[in-house]
Symmetry: C2
Subunit: 475 residues, 2 copies
């Protein structure tokens, strides 16, 4: 039942990706250049992601707020590095209410400026701190290319922005949120991400340092999938966020920001999906089970309804496909849409007290007796699917993880099979730029335990290495 | 414990409103003109509203999607009435990626255009219909005045957009969503809203007709609080949304749209709150119960924790105020923030196995024995508070609901005490404009059962009346 609308993943990965997005009805191009429509199947995945992350944010004391969409040019420019980094990418509103505006307003590419401006008004004393705020919203960056979920002028995300009384607390927060993202990737998305620090060149404009969550796609290309920034006092000095500390002295506050976007949907697709369409880990699938009755008999329908009811009651999302299509068509549709488990209830099977269950990940057909507990069967399969997807992705990632001692080795690897390449680095940007000449390979991150290397030589210049870097080709 | 920061509601209603918004930390002005920051306390109310409404939308078969923020000028202009209605209010992006754009992009004031454009691509056959989509997003309208939640250039809302194969189904949908809004106002917001049709002059630009939910504020001013529009084939003809009907003929589809906004938070404040601050119905309060320990003894703390745990377990949101403030300060804070129930656990009371519970709505202090079941006590009080708030609002609304037989009577009423004034109307816009001369009184709606009046005369011109109108002064 190979889906004819989907190009094979191993033949043309880029085409395969677009085909899966289209076939599973996740997203489509709009008439606004560079902007996409997120269709119901795609948006439902985003809602699941939001639900889990929002719970984790709130559990760690964060609160949601909403800041304006538009930022006056002067406010945007107060911190120099940020506007420098984003200037090429912003969209400007210059007319409103049928008048030409005296000051341009930019559509937020990110909201450090507005949060900082707000914080400068409300933070007075160490007693007000920390302030742990987050917002779910749309942002806009004038990208030149458009790829559903991966790159578009407008995208959806959450951006956490926090203020702290001490450097230590702010640095802990930066790491805390990085770990929440990393756990989310492992436990929900079944993606074995790696975490680390960005090099100075790759860090966020305006940050003292940036942590990143990096994931490796099926084709060996790396995807930056979430970031957590430590700002120190950079923004608090630019926006005048001062507080009376415990010694009654005025001090600039310490800030962080962190975010993940709808790009995670792209990562999900490129790690798990196959030539039959979307594959979703049960823990993030909006529809976890589909029941397909075969043969319109009372027994078949009764059992379908009983299953649906009992699964829903146990917080398993489940629907019956009662449409007028043929069973074969329904199977293919469930497959292309990535429903983790499909239960087929056939008239003849039922005479022998049997049902058939098909796992989306392995496409195995399994036979069960109707005497067995359906909730137990499904829960058990969910665990197996979730684990299997993670393990498969890990094995694949490991098979595409290499080590290079010099540029020739890196080149050989990247030309044969791109992946994550571990290599030592002296810390000099010139060396980083030399690596980039090899198929655009960039430093992805410096793993947390590899920030200081004692004995080793830089992969590029051969001088003493400072740290180990994971290199890769980026989306 | 009258809050000194809050002007009395009966002295200066507008000032009182702003004071409550500030004191309860719901929202504050930003440095982007006409745009507001929604602070945690305000945003949490919006999240509760979203949660309830989203559940109702999904229960009735609607799915969430996301459409682009920006609309190309030509796409926006395809349907003439819509752009005519919104032209004075839109903001235009004219620069992006450091270039001047060939075509201006407007920030969505509403998304009929983008939904219709999308539908024209995906609707082929009656089998594809209905499509019942909704989106939660920000919209932008270049307003001249700014009032937190009531009027601001950017606001948050949901906009449902549906396509149907028949006029009948589309009209049913329009009414279904109106009723969902109305039920939400009654059952959750405890606001006795009235529903009806807008006159032709007051309907949404581009709609065949508009239903509205109207609520009366404490000061007798009317607030349009939700709308549901029937478009017929207006947009489907402009955007070419055609489908093959059951007879295999191409037919233009039938559409609706419906929305409610963060303005509902303004309605909540202006209907229920008082000189002590915010008052929230328990069913929409983000924090439903606050426990205030008085005296730092083990017994006090143990009971506080036990209560918190058991209430949370029963899906009642509850927190303990363990801050270093004085009990008096904590009481005032709980009051100003509108926490429906405050439980005071005092060391001395506890020696007699007593606790004190204070209702926010009536400010009554009630004594209970620690032997009583706390979940039952709280649940029972929630019901009483919810009912009391609704009943009080209904009594007040009724006391401000009048009937006028001619313009003099209307004038007398509006000058003494504005409110809802029922009066017959001939259907002529000239008469509607004459009514407007009286303190800006507008038609709020034509109640559903008063669309056709047989025996009666127009309140303005004395000719035969067509229908009854509820008139009022609008926010």
């Amino acid at each position: 039942m190979k889906n004819n609308k989907i190009t094979s993943r191993d033949v043309d990965f880029a085409k395969w990706y677009t085909d899966v997005v289209n076939a599973a009805k996740l997203s489509t191009y709009s008439n606004t250049k560079g902007c996409l429509v997120i269709e119901p199947n795609g948006y439902a995945i985003w809602e699941k992601m939001q639900q889990v992350l929002d719970y984790e944010f709130k559990k760690t004391g964060h609160k949601n707020v909403y800041m304006p969409l538009l930022i006056p040019e002067n406010l945007m420019k107060k911190e120099g590095e940020l506007i420098e980094g984003f200037a090429p990418e912003v969209a400007w509103v210059t007319e409103g209410g049928q008048k030409h505006l005296e000051e341009r307003l930019c559509i937020r590419p990110t909201s450090e400026t507005l949060f900082s401006d707000y914080y400068s008004n409300v933070v007075k004393s160490y007693r007000d701190l920390p302030l742990l705020y987050n917002q779910w919203c749309n942002v806009f960056r004038w990208e030149k290319e458009t790829r559903p979920f991966l790159r578009s002028r407008e995208f959806l995300w959450q951006e956490g922005h926090t203020v702290h009384a001490t450097k230590k607390e702010a640095e802990e927060e930066t790491l805390r949120m990085l770990n929440i993202y990393n756990d989310f990737f492992h436990n929900y998305l079944a993606i074995p991400s790696i975490i680390g620090k960005k090099t100075n060149k790759e860090k966020f404009a305006g940050a003292e340092y940036t942590y990143t969550v990096e994931a490796l796609m099926y084709n060996g290309v790396a995807l930056q999938s979430g970031t957590s920034h430590y700002f120190g006092q950079k923004f608090s000095k630019a926006y005048d966020i001062k507080f009376l500390n415990k010694d009654n002295n005025l001090e600039y506050a310490y800030q962080t920001s962190w975010g993940v976007t709808t790009r995670m949907i792209g990562a999900l697709i490129m790690v798990h999906s196959d030539d039959y369409g979307l594959v979703l880990p049960p823990k993030i699938a909006p529809n976890q089970v589909v029941i397909i009755p075969i043969g319109d008999t009372e027994e078949v329908n009764t059992l379908a309804n009983t299953y649906k009811e009992i699964l829903n009651k146990n917080n398993i999302s489940c629907y019956i496909d009662n449409s007028e299509k043929t069973p074969g068509f329904k199977f293919a549709e469930a497959e292309v849409n990535g429903i983790p488990i499909r239960i087929e209830i056939g008239k003849r099977d039922l005479e022998n007290n049997n049902i058939t269950i098909v796992r989306r990940d392995t496409r195995e057909k399994l036979s069960y007796s109707t005497n067995q507990n359906i909730v137990e069967i499904v829960t058990d399969l969910f665990n197996k699917i979730q684990t299997n997807l993670y393990d498969k992705a890990l094995i694949r990632r490991n098979s595409m993880t290499f080590r290079a001692k010099n540029l020739d080795e890196l080149k050989n690897i990247m030309e044969k099979q791109p992946g994550f390449v571990h290599g030592l680095w002296c810390g000099d940007e010139a060396c980083e730029l030399k690596v980039k000449e090899i198929k655009g390979t960039k430093s992805r991150c410096i793993p947390l335990d590899k920030e200081h290397i004692d004995n080793g030589k830089c992969m590029v210049c051969g001088k003493d290495a400072k740290c180990e870097v994971v290199w890769g080709i980026q989306y």
